[in-house]
């Protein structure tokens, strides 16, 4: 390989894994956008969905066309349950309290998955072979990488349209900016929040299902992607959906470049350096406009 090919290869690899981070960043941004709550359980909600999909595919032997939609349905149920059973129950909720509830939720899901499926890591079958690739010159791109990027772009595009043009989308924005006024204007803010959680859970689950075939399905599988998705969301500005996807892609590319050219051992530290840098230099992120609440 000459000097250029590895660079291109690393860029392609970074963009594809960044797509998965982007999906998580989108999921985080949706919940943040509507409630200013950072959902620490996002990664493990995706993890438990991957285990659920595995259980449908392998022990039960369901075909992919049935198992994957069922898994997404399961993810939405988890999202709805999280909002309805946990967050909504908070007495005199403030943002910090709600964030801590999501932390507790993460521990519950992690504990449940460890107990239910934890004994052995699992190998996730998938409808496209993870080793099928396109070869362009010296460049190798797997079908799974292409699919991941395509899904991320499609979801981001769909969301952009949804928030711009649909009534529900606008209602979600209004709910974040001022819940009381939104309610006075006739928006059913509780339903909006429930919907945000359902939507975010489904999008996060897509990331989990796309990441699972690249390694093993195990209780720890989403820790690293979750943190990187978080870095991506912060980078993009937390409330900006295009920003979230862009942030995820940048994190994927930067950490791969860093891993290849600087150090593999410290590769996973890069996203945190990005978070600190962004919070110091441009706290509203790359694409979000800083929304200042007027008192």
């Amino acid at each position: 390989m000459d000097g250029l090919t590895p660079l291109l290869q690393i860029l392609v690899s970074g963009i594809s894994v960044g797509g998965a981070y982007g999906l998580i960043a989108l999921a985080l941004a949706i919940i943040y956008k509507t409630s200013e709550v950072l959902n620490f359980a996002q990664g493990d909600m995706a993890m438990v969905t991957a285990f659920f999909a595995f259980s449908l595919l392998v022990p039960l032997g369901l075909p992919f066309w049935a198992a994957l939609p069922a898994a997404l349905g399961f993810a939405m149920l988890v999202g709805a349950a999280a909002e309805f059973l946990f967050l909504r129950r908070a007495k005199e909720p403030n943002v910090l309290g709600l964030i801590i509830i999501t932390l507790g939720l993460q521990m519950i899901i992690f504990g449940f998955a460890s107990w239910k499926w934890g004994a052995d890591p699992k190998d996730m079958p998938f409808f496209i072979g993870p080793f099928d690739v396109f070869v362009l010159g010296g460049l190798i791109v797997s079908h799974l990488e292409m699919l991941t990027l395509a899904v991320a772009l499609a979801v981001a595009g769909g969301l952009a349209l949804f928030f711009r043009f649909s009534k529900l989308g606008v209602a979600m924005k209004a709910t974040q900016q001022n819940r009381q006024v939104a309610r006075i204007m006739g928006i059913r803010t509780r339903r909006v929040l429930l919907f945000a959680w359902v939507l975010a859970a489904a999008i996060g689950a897509l990331a989990g299902l796309l990441i699972a075939p690249t390694g093993t399905v195990d209780p720890y599988m989403m820790w690293d992607p979750m943190l990187k998705g978080f870095a991506g969301a912060v980078l993009g500005g937390m409330t900006s959906l295009p920003g979230a996807l862009l942030g995820g892609l940048i994190v994927g590319v930067v950490e791969n470049l860093f891993g290849f050219y600087v150090s593999t051992e410290f590769k996973s530290v890069v996203p945190f350096a990005i978070i600190i840098l962004i919070l110091g230099v441009r706290p509203s992120g790359l694409l979000a406009r800083h929304y200042v609440k007027k008192v």
Binding site: A119, P121, F131, P213, D218, D224, G259, F266
Partner: protein, 393 residues
């Protein structure tokens, strides 16, 4: 004044004598008919596959008890689930040691961090601990009177692999992929040192961060280095991600791994069948071995093991780590104290059960120093032994 001093000395002597006598007649965990032995190990949680170690030991003890026990005493085995969590290990060990009849000795115990959490506690009480289930240098640096390591050191294991790869397989372009922790760095240190002895150096060293899930840049580095052989000193998940990523990048070197990844059926299952033709080290006979002792254990497994248990390397390791302890208990005789057991263990020279030869001595606490090299076949399920027991050159 002089009188007072000698009185004090005499009093101290009497107290010491009394204490000594009480100890000889009343060793915690030993009664006329029982020896109490403990072990921790994860039975639930993410490290649960290694829980088979503690269950393997149980079958060995049942087999011994059914054959009449040791010098008229039966082994009473106390194992508990610590979920691979050092805090739980410590709490559980304390509970066993300080409650009920006490514990005479511990055996096995999965994990470096879990073991480190109780190492000092056991040392202070002089409780003998044989065969921690990890090849860590921490057990023997410095050697402790009561702690007898069995598992061969990762450093030595890596050296044997390099010897084999260089002399038998004629490999010279060897890369090392290592976990960025004590385990991985021990492997790196051993492999690098031994390559140097052969006048070689690794074509590349690639470290893996603990939480990393995306190893594309790692694999691309390995591929670009021109390596034809990659030695992996990583955990099972990272090994699987590496092999899958490499398969997608059309990179197919000779994969080589440490004994921690020697459970071929497990690795094949979780890697989607990629664990084929992998060379690795083994510290005990293979599960398929037909040696007479192994066949006896196999019979015990059929008789005592719970339904659904698998005759795999972790289960076998639980038997293997306890063999030297059982031999020590036999040699110590009916008069069983910590000191008599330690003396008996120190008398072990070239003792062999289903592991390599094991020997201790005063100040020598690393029992086994040899491993052999094996390889999975085309299916990834069958294992072929490639060498005899080897020590590094």
């Amino acid at each position: 004044m002089k009188f007072l001093k000698s009185l004090a000395v005499a009093a101290a002597a009497v107290v010491a004598l009394g204490a000594g006598r009480a100890d000889a007649g009343n060793v915690p965990g030993v009664t006329d008919t029982e020896i109490h032995i403990g072990q921790w190990g994860p039975q639930t949680g993410p490290a649960a596959p290694w829980g088979a170690v503690a269950r393997g030991t149980e079958v060995l003890f049942q087999m011994i008890n059914d054959a009449g026990g040791i010098h008229g005493r039966k082994i009473v085995y106390h194992s508990f689930d610590d979920q691979y969590n050092p805090a739980r290990t410590k709490a559980g060990v304390k509970e066993l040691v300080e409650g009920g009849p006490g514990i005479f000795a511990f055996v096995g115990g999965v994990g470096s961090a879990t073991g480190m959490a109780v190492k000092d506690y056991l040392n202070e009480r002089g409780i003998v601990w044989v065969g921690p289930a990890a090849g860590s240098l921490q057990w023997i640096t410095p050697p402790q009177k009561n702690l007898f390591a069995v598992y061969p050191l990762y450093v030595e294991e890596a050296k044997v692999l390099v010897d084999y790869l260089v002399t038998q397989e004629k490999k010279s372009k060897i890369a090392i992929l290592y976990a960025n922790d004590e385990y991985g760095k021990n492997g790196l240190q051993g492999a690098k040192g031994q390559l140097a002895r052969h006048g070689l150096e690794p074509v590349i060293e690639v470290g893996v961060g603990r939480a990393d899930r995306d190893l594309k840049s790692h694999v691309l580095k390995l591929k670009q280095s021109g390596a034809d052989t990659v030695i992996m000193w990583v955990n099972p998940t990272h090994a699987v991600i590496t092999l899958k990523t490499a398969a997608a990048m059309k990179f197919a070197p000779q994969w080589v791994s440490s004994s921690t990844l020697s459970d071929a059926p497990l690795m094949t299952a979780i890697s989607g069948g990629l664990w084929k033709n992998v060379i690795f080290t083994s510290f005990s006979e293979l599960p398929s071995s037909q040696s007479p002792l192994m066949l006896d254990y196999r019979k015990a497994f059929d008789k005592y093991a719970k339904k659904g248990e698998r005759w795999g390397v972790f289960f076998l390791a639980g038997i293997a780590f306890a063999e030297p302890l059982v031999e020590g208990l036999k040699r110590a005789g009916r008069d069983l104290t910590h000191d008599s057991l330690i003396a008996a263990l120190e008398s072990l020279k070239d003792f062999q059960g289903i592991m390599g030869r094991i020997g201790y001595g005063p100040g020598e606490r690393q029992g086994q120093k040899e491993v052999f090299v094996a390889k999975t076949d085309e299916t990834g399920l069958k294992v072929i032994q490639l060498s005899d027991w080897m020590r590094p050159n």
